[in-house]
Amino acid sequence: QQPVQSPQAVILREGEDAVINCSSSKALYSVHWYRQKHGEAPVFLMILLKGGEQKGHDKISASFNEKKQQSSLYLTASQLSYSGTYFCGTVGGGADGLTFGKGTHLIIQP
């Protein structure tokens, strides 16, 4: 089952904050976040593991609430370079591959 991402699309001005949510109907072992720019391959951002982890680098951080089977990606003081489509990928344990959400399109305007 694909995780559900929200919102589907968001348009921001440079410097504004954004939150992208990812929720799953099944128990999760870990959550991956990727960003894809138009015409390019998805690029890894971070992985969060069971245990209610929070992670971040630069102005992009994420949290994982395993009880609620949800993860959120936080983009603070957004930059033009943050534009792209963000995907969460969930792992349910075992030898499963990633199951990706449908993506959230983020557009940052000057």
């Binding site: 694909q2 072992y29 870990s30 991956h32 990727y34 390019e40 391959a41 998805p42 690029v43 890894f44 992985i47 593991l49 995907f87 990928g89 792992v91 344990g93 075992g94 030898a95 499963d96 591959g97 990633l98 199951t99 990706f100 959400g101 449908k102 993506g103």
Partner: protein, 113 residues
């Protein structure tokens, strides 16, 4: 840096043809994956492999098969291509554990006429 190379960026084939998409990685990764990406649907897992000659079905394996004869190479095969298999195909690799990041190739845009 991990390098994942897909044999073609663009490919045009005819309905009914047998199509091979090739993916080669240079990082000695155990896991390799094939996804297809369609607008509004995100990335969907077709097949993955966690070792040579091992394969597992993903979420949408119908109409596809795979081959992994060597660790560095993972092939996706469309046995009899159909127009609904027109899509962007992405290969990815990762280390052995599911908490390892996946590294993607640049993708093959396949058109079936």
């Amino acid at each position: 840096d991990v390098k994942v190379t897909q044999s073609s960026r663009y490919l045009v084939k005819r309905t009914g043809e047998k199509v091979f998409l090739e993916c080669v990685q240079d990082m000695d990764h155990e896991n390799m994956f094939w996804y297809r990406q369609d607008p509004g649907l995100g990335l969907r897992l077709i097949y993955f492999s966690y070792d040579v000659k091992m394969k597992e079905k993903g979420d949408i394996p119908e109409g596809y098969s795979v081959s992994r004869e060597k660790k560095e190479r993972f092939s996706l095969i469309l046995e009899s291509a159909s127009t609904n298999q027109t899509s962007m195909y992405l290969c990815a690799t990762s280390g052995p554990a599911s908490n390892q990041p996946q590294h993607f190739g640049d993708g093959t845009r396949l058109s079936i006429l």
